[in-house]
Amino acid sequence: MQTKSNIFYQFRAPSPRQLIWRQFNDNPIVVTAYYVLAIIMLAMLFAPILAPYSPEQQFNDAISLPPAWHPEGEMRFVFGTDDLGRDILSRVLYGARYSLGYPLLATIIAAVIGITIGAWAGMSRGVQSSTLTHFLDVVLSIPSLLLALVIVAILGPTLHTVMIAITLVLIPQFIHSVHNAFYTERSKEYVIASKLNGCSRNYLLRRVIFPNITSVVVIQFTYALSTAILDIAALGFLGLGVQAPAPEWGTMLARSMEHMYLSPWSMLLPGVALFMTVLTINILGDSLHRAIQQQDR
């Protein structure tokens, strides 16, 4: 009897974050994109375990071997080998580090710096605000690829220079979007109410305003990430980014161009990987943005 009377129905309202997650889960395309991206991420992290061979190992007996489903293909190399006898699957798996891992790192660094400066600018006013907002604007006027080319021309084509260039290009975009979002949010009534509660500036910034501009940050982050991926791939394709033996997807594509008619399969996997990564990131960012907007209405 005692236990029975202790049972009661407790209603717990879902938090806005849970509601976003539910809406996110409703769309099958979005869920698919989510899982595809998760698989690509896991492949990137566990490449040494998953890849059958080292990306640089050459097999002299299997040069330009077609994929396994081709009559001349071998089961050892599921997606075939390239003109130097290297397993394409292994190279694509290892290449995810260069083509997804490094852009992710560049975007995270740019986001941290950009959001910090943007929030600082958004919370201050007058000359200080303008200075903070515009001091990296010169960078914004140059296309990211061009700036990367300039930096590469000065410092030489290495991964570090490409990373510096891409991070530098992404920062002002973060600053601008976060600053604008803060600026519009700052004059809203709930922020004034919190201010009148005697809250500290730090609390106001992190707990009151920031949760309300996540939609802006999310859309900016995904946009920046897909830009970074495409930029690194493009520079690799031009031979100015990651250098040849490294299995970067853009570099692999550039190399396979030479043998396009002889071994078209060497173009297949890196191209598909690049396409899927950028597509899933854009789908996820877009739907996340839409889910948050739906919530705000």
Partner: protein
């Protein structure tokens, strides 16, 4: 002790930028001075754009005056010093939904002033918020609600709860009752009267409605183009107004007292 809330020579301009160096100064409040005794209810009336909202915002501390002082019990209130001001003067916001953060629960937002202005433990704070919710006619369950889940009347009650949390001496309200429908407005007015009697706070509110003003206010302050044209007790202003504007503002309906 008689001059509880003393406002002296309060002036506020809004600067409108007209091109590069040309500026136009729009005078919102022009040297307002008055004194409010403890526990009085003051209604601020006037036409649209007469500076009612500006006066309320200046007292609440949202805006800063260009000249003049606000003194509470002999203590001058400094602009931008929200931490000390919020223990004495609190504001009831007009739009309940806009003045509450959509991302946090009612409880989290009501804990906020206690968290920053008291040294109580978390359980004490929570207990106090639950009590306050009950005091304004809400249930303890509303602690975990998000603002969009409440009706307009409940939101008005939350706004009042937030205003009375720190036991202030003065509560200001800017059209706090304007957006509510009549039956809920009546409830909220009764709640305000009850709380006023219980806590002995001074209430300064701006309103359009002559009925509410006559019902609630002890004294009425009439503003016209940023100038105070009359300030007297409600009965005097209703029976014997000196200005024609006062008469027209207070006698829109053909009600008689």
């Amino acid at each position: 002790m008689n001059n509880h809330l003393h406002i002296h020579n309060l002036t506020k301009y809004y600067v409108k930028q007209l091109g590069w160096l040309k500026q136009q100064r729009i005078c919102a409040l022009d040297a307002i001075s008055f004194t409010v005794k403890q526990g009085e209810t003051i209604a601020v009336i006037g036409e649209t754009g007469s500076g009612k909202s500006t006066l309320i915002k200046l007292i609440a501390g949202i805006e800063t005056p260009h000249a003049g002082t606000i003194t509470l019990n002999g203590l001058q209130l400094k602009p931008y010093d929200y931490a000390s001001r919020c223990c004495h003067i609190r504001m009831i916001f007009q739009d309940g939904l806009a003045s509450l953060d959509p991302q946090r629960t009612i409880g989290q937002q009501l804990l906020e002033p206690l968290w920053f202005n008291t040294r109580w433990t978390v359980t004490e704070q929570r207990e106090y918020v639950l009590n306050t919710l009950q005091k304004v006619g809400l249930l303890p369950e509303h602690f975990d609600f998000y603002p969009h889940m409440l009706a307009s009347g409940q939101l008005a009650r939350v706004s009042i709860a937030r205003a009375i949390l720190l036991n202030p001496q003065v509560i200001v309200a800017d059209e706090a009752l304007g957006a509510l429908d009549p039956s809920i407005r009546a409830q909220i007015i009764n709640l305000l009267i009850d709380l006023k009697e219980e806590m002995g706070v001074t209430l300064v509110f701006a309103s359009h409605s002559p009925e509410i003003v006559r019902h609630l206010a002890d004294k009425i302050l009439v503003l016209h183009h940023g100038k105070m044209i009359e300030f007297d007790t409600t009965t005097t202003l209703i029976t014997n107004p000196q200005q024609s504007l006062t008469r027209s503002l207070l006698h829109t309906g053909n009600l008689t007292i």
